[in-house]
Amino acid sequence: MRIVSLVNGSLLSEAASLYAITYAKSVQLPLTLLFIDNGLESIEHFRLSELSLKELAKAQDVDIEVIILAGDILDTLHHFAQLYAIDTLFCATRKQSSSHSFSDKIVAARLEMDIAVVKVKNVSHVRSYHRVLFAAGSSINVHAYMLWLGLLKDNEALGKLYLQNNRSAFKTTTTSGLKYEAEPFVQMAKMLHKSVEVVNTLQPVNPEAMNNYLIANNLDLVIYDAHAYSKRILNQVSDESSINSILYYSWKV
């Protein structure tokens, strides 16, 4: 298994790869920097990013390999996924969601891997972060949880687990139900010596309130279990937020 980061040499893809390095380190998997030359990307820019990322990976004892392929990005990714066992693919996306965003196409392609779409808003919060929130919805996806815990593990970061009745105000989940859902995951974090704060709310998702919560609590990164929220809400929350986010799409829900 390997962690793959799709790099095109841009500031955003390099920033997304920093999260990939941290995660690869925590799960002790090698990291592949994948550049697909589709005629639009610049190999020179990629080379600059590669140098910088290799340096950082080396400093963190992460095995790194670079693969350069040519062709249509989606087809190449499909082919690549069939050849190699991929745990998680990291890819960066632009600030605003749109139906034509490349990350949307990758997600829609149903590749046999988990996909972490990284929305970088604040480049200066990528290298180190102090507070990471996992917006899990009403039940916790183990794969998304692992990413969150992995990103917390070697950082001195505080973890917040945000459980929410995200469907509607009428279809309520009880607070004790949410607590019960969270308990084994909290225990698991404790076993790794990470203390985790659990926030339970029965309010349905309100993007504005969510963003205010993120700002008021000085969070640096939010991981959303993308399957727990509607696409509209997810786009709204992550577009309007001033905080870096990772939208996590697990292969098998």
Binding site: S10, L11, L12, E14, L48, S52, R94, K95, Q96, K121, N122, V123, S124, H125, V126, R127, S128, H130, E208, A209, N211, N212, I215, A216, N218, E240, S242, I243
Partner: protein, 891 residues
């Protein structure tokens, strides 16, 4: 964090370099990170806003009435119900269009105001320094920072030369914060000394910085985006309009239903009863009330703009009239925000007063103690030393001040006392000011002379002095020191910021010669004392909330006549529970010092919990939540866009006096609306009475529905508007604020409008109608609407109501004063009445108009029937006002 990394690493992480980004990369980054601007509020869809004007309770009622009239016309054509339907539809469209237009205009005025401030930034791109629109800044851009610049984005410093920032928009602290290349032990960006932040202003120095974040991601953007969480309260006028429309509509519906069933059960038939009920509903609904109130509010907001208070939301105008507490900033609002040197204590014991406030008001130096030639020389020397040792420049021609305000005050003082030209001194070295040293020195040369000029806090400079400049240089003794310290203490107690001035020949900050002390103050605004006294007579509490220290705040409060029972600091405030603080707020006149902007929100909430109507001033981005929370948020014209966006009113001149003027206008608006509501309700009775009498007495119809609409939407409109534009009454600022539970449509208005004036008008209308019929040989029985004689009689009813309203509008101009005591004129009322006369002539003599309004020419000899009741009306008003005056305790 990135700010903790070495500069090379920061640039590498941002894919940038000291020569900046390429244009192509900027385009990519604009796509990736968006424009450098705060999240724009979703633009209003004005088509939807316009349609909304048709779907509130009031218009829906009229729309249903119009549809019913059309249905009635379908079953019984030729009865004029179609005209009624179109007239009611017309009234709805007119009403909706007018109200929408007023709101649209207010929105556009606000947009125009916000567009006035367009900021630019200097960036280095591809090695070239260029000026770009601040929205085009992207992460990785290299900003060039210069004194006076407003910073466009959050950035990490690459170089800094004596750089100071004013961060008050972020943390409310007005004293400049020094910047350096090392982050210090900061854990978060806001504490990092090597970072500069969007929205802050460079007060001194220059430097280069690489942009890390833009737009909403900046610290400024984060705080700004949080303000939307505060719930905006409904304004009293919104509640009032809701209350009025509900009461009047229910009344109209109830009356309509009662007469519908009465008619139906008395064999008038379903259709006839329905049409009759419909007419009664139309008669009862004051169609002209809403547009008149809207226009009255709009006129008030225009008057307020002339008095430097720009109202963003028309409905907030009246809230001002209810304000019971004004929470105000000190700097710039109560004071001039222009530090001025007012007092100089010379080393020889002489005391000098400097006249003229602010940077540009002329002034001179006046010795308070006997002066000598030596004394004058010592004064000039002191001011030269003080002014040369600054970075400030004051340009009188362009009214422009650059640099630290305290330093600018020293330059101005030197100009007032005609000290020697500052340019003759060449600065060769500087020992910069820091918050630890609290002093600053400049090594200067003039020809062969090399001297060190020093200024700073007394506790920093005095210990370094060994000599004192009296007639000649003498040793600084312990007695000298204690005298200087005593003088310093005395000045501090009077809110003076005190600087010690010293010098020496040669370099090194030791063995200095003490020259004297300069006492500076941000002087109160000229009319503020009077304005505060007006607030107290108007039963309004004034609370100063300032970031300054308690001594300065209290001294200023004393100078401006502010009542202070207790001074609370921000730290003390945090120690109080909500209950304790609420009790203090209700029982005492408090002054809040060393307050952070965020604490204002708590004060506003607790005051509101005490039942107060709070007007709150603010200018920084941190003030925005409190401005939103307050019943009326007042932003300073010089404040941030975020504060202006959150506020209900913008003070164009930042002056407290303008708030008081706005309160006066707010109260005036309340009473004007009360007057015009009474006026409009009065004419409802002569519209209803004829129907009721016709129903019970089975007499011919005295007034048609189209004639009712002519009164409501025609003749009543302009004079009603004139009432809405009445100037403040004499005692308006002596009465208590309008209570939150006080209704415009209270029992007094109801009684006066419906049962007193209305009844007189109703009798007047019926007197004219029946009088005309009897005088012209009418035999009891019904008449056709097409009968000339019937139309003449209906015209008399119409004229009976209109003539009474013509008198009514003049007598209602004052709620308290006799008609004969009114000295001020109201051109709009005169114009309205003249238009009424024109309309009367038209319905009397122009056939085309007559055919629309079912009127006819009335013989002149019958017109005397219109005279008696207007006289009765005047007498009634005079009696009522005298009676009321005896009850009013504030006069």
């Amino acid at each position: 964090m990135l700010f903790q990394q070495p500069i090379e690493q920061v640039l590498k992480s941002l894919h940038s370099s000291e020569s900046g980004l390429s244009q192509q990369e900027v385009v990519h980054r604009l796509e990736a990170f968006g424009l450098n601007q705060l999240k724009q509020k979703a633009k209003k869809d004005y088509r939807i806003e316009y349609l909304k004007e048709y779907i509130s309770f009031f218009p829906i009622l009229l729309e249903v009435a119009a549809v019913l009239a059309l249905i009635a016309d379908y079953f019984q054509p030729g009865e004029g119900n179609d005209i009624l339907a179109y007239a009611v539809f017309g009234a709805v469209v007119l009403n909706a269009s007018f109200t929408f237009w007023q709101k649209f205009k207010a929105d556009k005025a606000m947009e125009a105001l916000l567009k006035l401030v367009k900021s630019e930034a200097k960036v280095i791109r591809q090695g070239i320094l260029c000026t770009v629109d601040a929205t085009q800044i992207v992460p990785g851009d290299i900003l060039q920072l210069e004194e006076g610049d407003k910073i466009a984005a959050d950035a990490i410093l690459l170089s800094a030369n004596d750089l100071y920032l004013n961060l008050s928009v972020l943390n409310g602290e007005s004293s400049p914060a020094s910047r350096q290349l090392l982050a210090g032990d900061a854990k978060r960006e806001l504490d990092a000394k090597n970072m500069v932040f969007a929205g802050s202003v460079i007060t001194n120095g220059n430097g280069l910085a690489v942009v890390t974040t833009t737009g909403d991601t900046t610290e400024f953007g984060k705080i700004a985006s949080m303000t939307s969480e505060v719930i905006t309260l409904e304004t009293p006028i919104e509640k009032e309009i809701k209350h009025m429309t509900t009461v009047l509509t229910l009344l109209a519906l109830a009356a309509g239903l009662v007469f519908f069933f009465l008619g139906w059960f008395s064999d008038r038939g379903l259709l006839v009863s329905a049409i009759f009920a419909l007419s009664l509903i139309v008669a009862n609904v004051p169609e002209g009330l809403l547009p008149t109130i809207t226009l009255s509010l709009s006129l008030a907001s225009q008057r307020m703009a002339k008095r430097q208070a720009l109202i963003k939301n028309l409905n907030s105008v009246q809230t001002l009239g209810s304000a019971t507490v004004i929470c105000t900033d000190k700097t710039g609002t109560l004071t001039q925000n222009e530090i001025t040197a007012h007092f100089i204590y010379l080393a020889d014991g002489s005391q000098v007063e400097l006249t003229g406030n602010g940077y540009f008001e002329p002034g001179e130096c006046q010795f308070k103690t006997p002066s000598s030639k030596q004394g004058i020389e010592n004064l000039q020397q002191l001011l030269t030393v003080a002014a040369v040792n600054t970075h400030a420049t004051v340009n009188h021609a362009e009214h422009l001040v650059m640099g630290d305000p305290t330093e600018a005050a020293l330059v101005v003082a030197a100009q007032k006392c005609k000290s020697e030209p500052l340019v003759e001194w060449q600065k060769v070295k500087e020992y910069a000011f820091s918050s630890e040293r609290k002093m600053m020195s400049s090594l200067v040369t003039q020809g062969e002379k090399t001297q060190l000029f020093v200024k700073g806090a007394v506790e920093s400079v005095l210990p370094l002095c060994t000599l004192i400049q009296v007639a000649s240089k003498q040793t600084l003794t312990r007695e000298h020191k204690s005298q200087i310290e005593q003088q310093n203490l005395q000045l501090a107690k009077q809110a003076y910021r005190v600087l010690a001035i010293a010098m020496k020949s040669g370099d090194g900050e030791d063995n200095l010669v003490f020259l004297g002390l300069v006492g500076m103050i941000d002087p109160p605004r000229k009319d503020v004392k009077q304005a505060i006294s007006e607030c107290y007579s108007a039963h309004i509490k004034v609370m100063m909330i300032t970031g300054d220290n308690p001594i300065t705040a209290k001294a200023i409060a004393e100078k401006i006549g502010l009542k202070v029972d207790e001074v609370l600091t921000g730290h003390e405030l945090d120690g109080f529970s909500n209950t304790d603080l609420q009790a203090k707020l209700s029982s005492k006149h408090l002054l809040f010092a060393r307050m952070a902007s965020a604490q204002k929100l708590r004060i506003a909430q607790l005051l509101q919990a005490n039942g107060e109507v709070v007007a709150m001033t603010g200018d920084g981005v941190n003030d925005a939540p409190a401005l939103k929370q307050a019943n009326i948020g007042i932003a300073m014209g010089s404040g941030t866009d975020v504060a202006k966006e959150a506020a209900d009113m913008i003070l164009l001149d930042d002056n407290f006096k303008s708030i008081v003027a706005a309160v006066e206008e707010g109260r005036t608006v309340y009473f004007n609306i009360k007057k015009l509501t009474t006026y409009i309700l009065s004419s409802n009775v002569p519209e209803i009475v004829p129907y009721v009498l016709q129903f019970f007495l089975k007499i011919p119809m005295p007034l048609s529905v189209i004639q009712i609409l002519l009164i409501d939407l025609g003749t009543d409109q302009l004079p009603g508007l004139g009432l809405g534009a009445e100037k403040p009454e004499k005692h308006i600022m002596r009465r208590p604020p309008v209570g939150q539970n006080e209704k415009i449509l209270d029992w007094e208005v109801f009684k006066r409008g419906y049962f007193m004036i209305g009844l007189i008008e109703g009798i007047a209308a019926m007197f004219a109608f029946l009088g005309f019929l009897f005088l012209n040989g009418w035999q009891y029985g019904d008449l056709s609407i097409n009968d000339e004689f019937h139309r003449q009689a209906m015209t008399m009813t119409l004229l009976g109501a209109i003539t009474c309203q013509m008198v009514n509008v003049f007598t209602l101009r004052s709620w308290e004063d006799s008609l004969w005591r009114l000295t001020r004129t109201n051109k709009m009322i005169w114009f309205g009445v003249m238009m009424e006369v024109v309309l009367i002539l038209a319905i009397l003599y122009i056939p085309a108009v007559q055919s629309i309004f079912n009127t006819a020419t009335v013989p002149f000899e019958n017109l005397w029937l219109l005279i008696p009741f207007p006289i009765v009306l005047i007498l009634y008003h005079e009696w009522y006002k005298t009676h009321q005056k005896a009850k009013a305790h504030w006069q």
